[in-house]
Amino acid sequence: MTRQTKIVPSLREAIRQSCLRDGMTISFHHHLREGDRVLQTVLTECSVLGLKDLTVNASALMGCHRSILDFVRDGTVSGIECNFMHAQVGQEISRGALEREVVFRSHGGRPAAMVRGESHIDVAFIAASAADAAGNCNGKQGNAAFGSIGYAMPDAEHAQYVVVVTDQLFEYPLLDASISEESVDAVVVIDSIGDPERIMSGTTRVTRDPIGLLIAEQAAKAISASGLLRDGFSFQTGAGGTSLAVAQYLGEIMREQGIVGRFASGGITGLLVDLLREGLFETLLDVQCFDREAVLSIGGDARHGEISATRYASPAAKSSVVDRLDVVILGATEIDTDFNVNVHTDSNGVIMGGSGGHSDTAAGAKLSIIVAPLMRARLPLIVDRVGTISTPGEDIDLLVTQYGLACNPRRSELSSRLERAGLPVVSIHDLKAKAESITGIPARVIHRGRPVARVVSRDGMLLDTIAMIED
C-alpha cells in the first residue's frame, strides 16, 4: 500500500490542493503575536493566485498584520472576522476601508460559532514552530517557539481543510503534539514563520506607575476581602502592567497567609510562572504565552498545561475553564454607570482592540474586577454610555480606581464585605462626578456613519455595532 505524503513543496501548491476558491473563508491564529509572518505570506500567495473576496477569520489581528489592508484594496480579502484588532488595522477599518462589516467575537465565542455552524472555515493555515511530515505539531519546540497553540485548536478541528505551516520539520512522530495528524491535510515548510524576537517579547513587566500600583494593591485587598481567596483559589489576569501588579500583590497576600491557589489561566506571563514555581499556584492552564518565560515554562514544566480556546472559554463546550474561575482581573478603555465595558474603541470611536477573553472570563468568573485609572490624561474612564459594549455590565462585579472602589449594585453582599475590610467603597456615579470635577465634563461624541463592525456576544447575539468615523 502506498502512503500519500502530506508534505507539499510550496504554500502556493498547498493553496491549490486545498481547492480554495473565491469567496471562501481562511483562518489564522495569533500566537506569534507581533512576529507573525504566516498571515502575510499566505495572503500574498492567495493574491498571486488571483483569489478574490476571501474572508479572513483570525483569532486576532496584530499591528504586524496591517498589510491585510493592502489585500483588501487589491480585492483578495473582502471580509474580516477576529477577536481583537490592533489600532494600526482598526484605524483604517474605522475609516471605512472594508465594505463589509467586521465581525468581532470573543476567544470563547469564536470556537462556539464554529460549533453552531455560524462560522465556517474552509481552509485553516496553522503556524507551528515544530511539525512532522504527518502534521503533528506544536508551538513549544523549534527556533520560533511561541508556546501554547490553543487558539488554533478549534480551527484544526472544524476547518474543511487544514494546512500546517512550519519552518522546522521534526522526525515522525513528533511527541507532545498539540494538534494531531488526524485533522491535518497538508504540511508546508517555509523559510520562517516569524521573528522569534518579536514572538517572545522579553518579559512583560509590572507597572512602575504609582497610580497603577495603588489600584493594583486595592484590587488585591478586595480579592482578599471577597472571601474567595482560600486554598484551591483560581485566578486570571492579563499582561497589562496594572494587571500584573495585582498578581504580584496577590502573591504577597497568599505567601503571608499560606494560601495555595489551584490554577491560574488564560494568557500566561513570567510572573505567573514565578508564582507556580514558588508553589503559590499548583497549575497553569495556558491558552497563550505572553513572554519568553511562559514559552520556556510550557515546554518544560508538566504543571504548566496547554488548553484549547474551546476548553478555555467556549460557551458551546460541555464545560470550560472560565466557568471555574474565582477571580478575573480585566481592563477597560471606558466603563459606564451600568458597568458596561468598552475594550473595542477609543474615546473617539476608533477601533483599537477587542474582547479577546474579556467577556468570556467576566461571564464565567465569580468575581470580575476592572482595574483602571479614573482618568487617562484628561479623559474620564466612566461615561454615561460606553461607545461600544464589549462586555455587558451584568457580568462586571467591581471597578477599582485610585479614588475608590465601585461595586455593581447587583453585588450588595460584596459591597458590605469590602466595606467591613475598610476599603473605600463609593458609588460609580460618585466616581464619575469626582473625575469630571477634575477634567471637566466631556462633550459627547456621537457617530452616525455606516456600521463598519458588529460585536457578537459569546452566545452569538448582536451586542453592539461600531460606526464609521468621518474626519
Binding site: 473617539n348 490624561a377 484628561r378 471637566g440 466631556p442 462633550a443
Partner: protein, 93 residues
Amino acid sequence: MNSKQMKRARAGTLESGDVLVTIEPADSLEIKLHSPVINQFGDAIMRSVREVIDSFGVTSGTISLEDQGALDCTIRARLATAIRRSFEDEEGA
C-alpha cells in the same frame, strides 16, 4: 499691553497630561490647537485660551497649543507663562 514688543516664547512640554504653548509675534491674533481630546474638550480649551489671552490684553500673535490631554488648570498656567515670557525683556529673560 500689546503695545509692548512681543517675542517668540514657549512654555510646557509634550508629556502626556501637559501642553506645549508656543507664541510667535504676528500682526493679527491666531490660535492653533492640536489636541487628542479636541472632540471632548475642544470648545472648553478654546474658551480658557481666550479668557487667559484677554486677561493679558493680548490682541495679536500666533499662539499654538500642542495639547497632550492637559487639565484646564495646566493649560491656563502654561499659556500664562508663555505670554509672560513673550513680554519679558531680552536682558531680563
